[in-house]
């Protein structure tokens, strides 16, 4: 018989998030205690401390919060922070537009892709400027 607290028996939050992503579902966490949302996933809610957090699917809509073009020798590429409608932000890459042309406030949409190593990651496609 386990003496560990059963409230934490579920898979670790990062592992659970990666499993859903590998199944093709982009999720963030929602808190049953205070209703706030967060990303990256964590064992507890960063707003209220509740451990009743669960992964919920995302629409994938987002807005560019900030953006930079990294000047590598092979050429520039984009790194952006995007803000989800529920509030959390994530680091990602925006595609479908030249890196220098991306502006804060642009609308983007999530797309799950496979990296060379096989891991699923979430990139965002450029959708337009409000």
């Amino acid at each position: 018989m386990s003496v560990a607290d059963p409230r934490f028996d579920h898979a670790g939050p990062e592992e659970a998030w990666r499993t859903r992503l590998a199944e093709g579902v982009f999720t963030i966490q929602s808190c049953a205690g205070c209703g706030s949302y967060q990303f990256p996933p964590s064992v507890s809610c960063r707003s209220c401390g509740s451990v009743r957090v669960a992964l919920v699917p995302q629409s994938g809509d987002a807005v560019v919060y900030s953006s930079t073009t990294v000047r590598a020798r092979a050429g520039g590429y984009n790194v952006s922070l995007v803000e989800l409608p529920e509030g959390p932000r994530m680091m990602t890459r925006v595609e479908g537009i030249e890196p220098e042309e991306i502006r804060i406030g642009d609308r983007v949409a999530a797309r799950i892709v496979r990296r060379d190593g096989g891991d699923a990651i979430v990139i965002f496609d450029w959708c337009g400027r409000p």
Binding site: Y65, S66, T68, V70, R71, D119
Partner: protein, 382 residues
């Protein structure tokens, strides 16, 4: 905390001033600085019973430094919050000294990242939600903050460039500064871009270096041979680890660390004669000037481009030349304190702020993640 105002003194200061020193390890730099700081006040390693240290190259800094220096500390703190660590250590040392946990506190640091051939100090811990995107650590995180400030407040690259130019003008007054060539706004704007909107000239130097401070309670400081500098106030704050988790990229936790330090010291920004803020990148100077109350939020660009922070301007800021032009061994925070001590002792030569009595030193760690503020004063401020 107001009870502790002026109860602790920095009695020894050591700076190796070796910004490119092949053949020396990070611990060699640290050890030299520690001996310089102890010599400064006439104490020896045998007197040290409180050890405070942090290095990019060591996961067990207290153990390594204690062994190398031959110290058996009764109190130690190896808090690692990046370049802000040493002002966290300063606060911790102040508390430990006044609680009687130790009597002579040594805060020390060393690095050889320039001559050691590794370039930028690597990211100290894996960040799985940042790793896939190829952001240059830590430049791109600061670039994202700069881009947001430009978007929200109309700050320009030219504003940011004026921070680098002011730092260089101060460095030209400091014979110990690593880079003293003339620098213009146009030079900064034309420098190779690293991560937009930050060019190479918006980024701090990559140097070696070692720095150390010795602290005692104020009553003991009077009996030592050096001129004590008193701790009037301290404040620390931590807001995030990854830049995506920073609540607002234009507002740092320096708001909180600064407020705590001002409250303990019983002073405000207008009482401060001399200021050191951690300039890892041009944008950090601007953010900390705003968040510590030297200008209002959003007006940092206009403030720095007005000439206010150049030699002869209204605010004696980063008078050693800063991380941008004096030195940046990777965790620069201890050098903000060292320059504040130089200024308050009136030993800063051509860059001296005449009559400086109160100095504010502010350090940053991670990616705008950890903030720590110290307000120091001469005996006249007690």
């Amino acid at each position: 905390m107001q009870d502790l105002r002026g109860r602790t003194a920095i009695v020894g200061a050591g700076n190796t001033n070796r910004w490119y020193a092949p053949g020396r390890t990070a611990f060699d730099q640290l050890s030299e600085a520690a001996h310089l700081a102890l010599d400064d006040c006439g104490l020896t390693v045998r007197d040290v019973d409180g050890l405070f240290c942090s290095l990019s190259v060591s996961g067990l800094p207290v153990l390594n430094v204690a062994e190398k220096l031959g110290i058996r500390p009764s109190y130690a703190d190896g808090t690692m919050v990046g370049g802000a660590s040493f002002i966290f250590h300063l606060q911790s040392a102040m508390l430990a000294l006044n609680a009687g946990l130790c009597n002579v506190a040594l805060i020390c640091y060393g690095a050889n990242q320039a001559s050691g051939g590794r370039g930028f100090t690597p990211m100290p811990d894996p960040q799985p939600f940042e790793e896939p995107w190829g952001a240059i650590y830590p430049v791109s995180s600061y670039a994202l903050a700069a881009a947001r400030h430009m978007h929200q407040f109309g700050t320009t690259r030219r504003d940011l460039a004026s921070v680098a130019v002011a730092a260089r003008k101060w460095a030209q007054l400091n014979p110990a500064a690593h880079v003293r060539d003339p620098l213009t706004i146009e030079d900064v704007l034309a420098a190779r871009m690293i991560s937009d909107p930050l060019s190479k000239a918006d980024c701090c130097l990559v140097t070696d270096g070692g720095g150390a401070l010795v602290l005692t309670r104020a009553d003991r400081a009077k009996d030592l041979r050096s001129e004590p500098v008193y701790i009037l106030g301290t404040g620390t704050a931590v807001s995030h680890r990854q830049i995506a988790a920073m609540p607002d990229l234009t507002v740092t936790a320096a708001v909180e660390s600064g407020a705590a330090a001002y409250k303990m010291a019983g002073v405000g920004p207008s009482d401060v004669d001399h200021v050191m803020v951690y300039d890892a990148f041009t944008i950090t100077t601007l953010l900390f000037l705003e968040d510590l109350g030297f200008c209002t939020k959003g007006e940092g660009g206009a403030f720095v481009s007005s000439g206010a922070i150049e030699p002869g301007g209204s605010l004696a800021l980063n008078t050693n030349g800063g991380g941008l032009s004096c030195n940046h061994p990777g965790m620069y925070g201890i050098f903000t304190l060292l320059e504040s001590v130089e200024q308050l002792r009136g030993r800063a030569g051509a860059r001296q702020k005449p009559g400086a009595e109160i100095s504010l030193a502010h350090a940053n760690g991670g990616v705008l993640s950890a903030q720590a503020t110290a307000i120091l004063g001469t005996a006249a401020t007690l």
